[in-house]
């Protein structure tokens, strides 16, 4: 199971990509594989603000529900509307088409706790 080297990762199996001053967040291949067929993604609304560590979204598979947490405090500036109707993108394209939300961090606290690809690969035994 390959771990993209351009991303950073959380302990809850989210990936984080820096995009200008925004962070793009989704779930890893490992996470989608464990959840199975995704049937719904409950996304936040643009403009919602969250504290670091808060549950921001929910991913529902036929078998389980998983909460998606933000590693930083901030405001949601964009959500992946395509996931409403094309939930399977989280399974088929977790690192690109399956992205979930973009958040504008209000401070950088929390970024230090992210894992680099090597650490994440070790965590999931890849």
């Amino acid at each position: 199971m390959s771990v993209p080297t351009t991303l950073r990762y959380t302990a809850h199996d989210e990936w984080v990509r820096q995009e200008g001053d925004l962070l793009v967040i989704g779930i890893t291949h490992f996470a989608q594989d464990a959840l199975g067929d995704i049937v719904h993604v409950e996304l936040p609304e643009v403009g919602d603000t969250f504290a670091a560590g808060a549950a921001v979204a929910e991913v529902e598979s036929t078998k389980a529900t998983a909460e998606i947490y933000t590693p930083v405090s901030g405001e949601i500036v964009e959500i992946n509307e395509a996931l409403d109707g094309s939930e399977e993108l989280v399974n088929t394209d977790p690192y690109a088409g399956g992205w979930m939300f973009k958040i504008r961090p209000s401070d950088s606290a929390g970024l230090d706790s992210l894992m680099d690809p090597a650490a994440y690969a070790t965590k999931i035994g890849a």
Binding site: D33, D37, H40, E60, T62
Partner: protein, 367 residues
């Protein structure tokens, strides 16, 4: 360490994701739960259900022993018939739900849930009223493979000289399948689609699995994991022990008194406690089914409200791969189980609405 069925190596070879269930390492899905689910509804699927337990009851006193131990009548069963029944405890709760297969006058095979194998065998042994009834745990002697779906009969028929047309629903017959003698072919299942369950000597289970997979190839057969087994039974609204049934939930609550023959001669173990609970009126909740309006999925344990008041809890829930809607089974206050009743479901603080419906979510179609 969890036990393995005789088919464990087949699951690993097929790339299954393995989870522990009922004390066994079992495949939860092979690639996609939804694809597997639809394959059973539309074509044919193969399930390893060897984790299920088998208890043999034999001897001159076997019939009398079973009449006491299980809730349904056994005496009027024909040889080759199968019947759903409950084991009931002395608190008005359910030890397990099971199927009794009558092999002959004094020989019965009882199929019980994997998670209850040891509990049930101990219960049977401890409460056996007859010294001339021999109770044996045959769980490790049998493999069990379910073949379910509209094409299941065609596939199975191609591998057996038995005339499957003579085996009616909830009936069974001894037979040879794929050249393996000593099998029991039963027209039973846990999917809401037509199909069979084949009991096979454990050391022949892999050979039977391989033969069925090969014979099913032209029909698009797939191996089906426990995940789809669960969503299929939910669509068919079949109870699962540990969810809709438990040591504390009464058959009255579960609306299963049709399989409790209180009036049979000598009645049955636990009958008095069920009737006493009914008399006392303490069981105010009953089993219902609901369709969920939104896209979120309610699951086991979700609280159910009516106009802000706590009225029950969900026992099983998923998104139906066929209806593409949320479905669930739940216990609610009697009266709120009437079709059309609108209920609220507390999903981590936000409320989703759902509507009570009667009967199976997906109706059984003919083969």
């Amino acid at each position: 360490m969890a036990k393995r069925t005789p088919l464990f190596d087949r699951h690993v070879a097929a790339g299954a994701r393995i989870v522990e269930f009922g004390g066994f390492d079992m495949p939860v899905w092979y690639s996609s739960l939804v694809d597997e689910h639809r394959c059973v509804r539309q074509a044919v699927g193969l399930f390893d259900v060897s984790h299920m337990g088998e208890i043999r009851v034999r001897g001159p006193g076997a019939l009398a022993a079973l009449e006491w131990l299980v809730s349904n009548t056994v005496t009027d069963m024909a040889h080759g018939q199968a019947r759903y029944a409950l084991l009931c405890n002395d608190r008005g709760g359910v030890v397990d739900d099971l199927i009794v297969y009558r092999v002959s006058d004094d020989d019965f095979l009882v199929c019980v849930n994997a998670s209850n194998r040891e509990k049930d065998f101990a219960w049977f042994t401890a409460n056996n009223p007859r010294t001339d009834a021999t109770i044996t745990d045959e769980g490790d002697l049998w493999g069990q493979i379910a073949i379910q779906g509209p094409a299941s009969e065609l596939v199975l028929a191609s591998l057996t000289p038995s005339d499957l047309g003579t085996i009616a629903y909830y009936h069974h017959a001894p037979g040879t399948v794929a050249g393996i003698p000593g099998c029991i072919i039963a027209r039973t299942g846990y999917t809401g689609s037509p199909g069979f369950e084949v009991f096979v000597p454990a050391d022949q289970a892999s050979a039977l699995w391989d033969a069925l997979m090969k014979a099913g190839e032209p029909h698009g057969i797939k191996p089906i994991g426990l995940g789809a087994r669960d969503t299929l039974r939910m669509e068919a609204r079949m109870p699962l022990y540990g969810h809709e049934l438990s040591d504390d939930i009464s058959p009255t609550m579960a609306k299963l008194t049709r399989v409790c023959k209180f009036e049979k001669p000598g009645s049955f173990l636990g009958a008095a406690a069920i009737l006493a609970r009914k008399e006392a009126g303490t069981d105010t909740k009953v089993l219902a089914g609901a369709l969920i309006d939104g896209k979120r999925v309610v699951r086991d344990g979700t609280r159910v409200l009516k106009d802000g008041v706590d009225v029950g809890w969900v026992t099983s829930g998923t998104r139906s791969p066929i209806l593409e809607k949320g479905i669930c089974m739940l216990y609610v206050e009697a009266g709120l189980d009437a079709p059309g009743t609108v209920l609220q479901f507390d999903l981590r603080g936000s409320l989703e609405t759902g509507t009570v419906v009667s009967g199976a979510f997906v109706k059984k179609s003919a083969a």
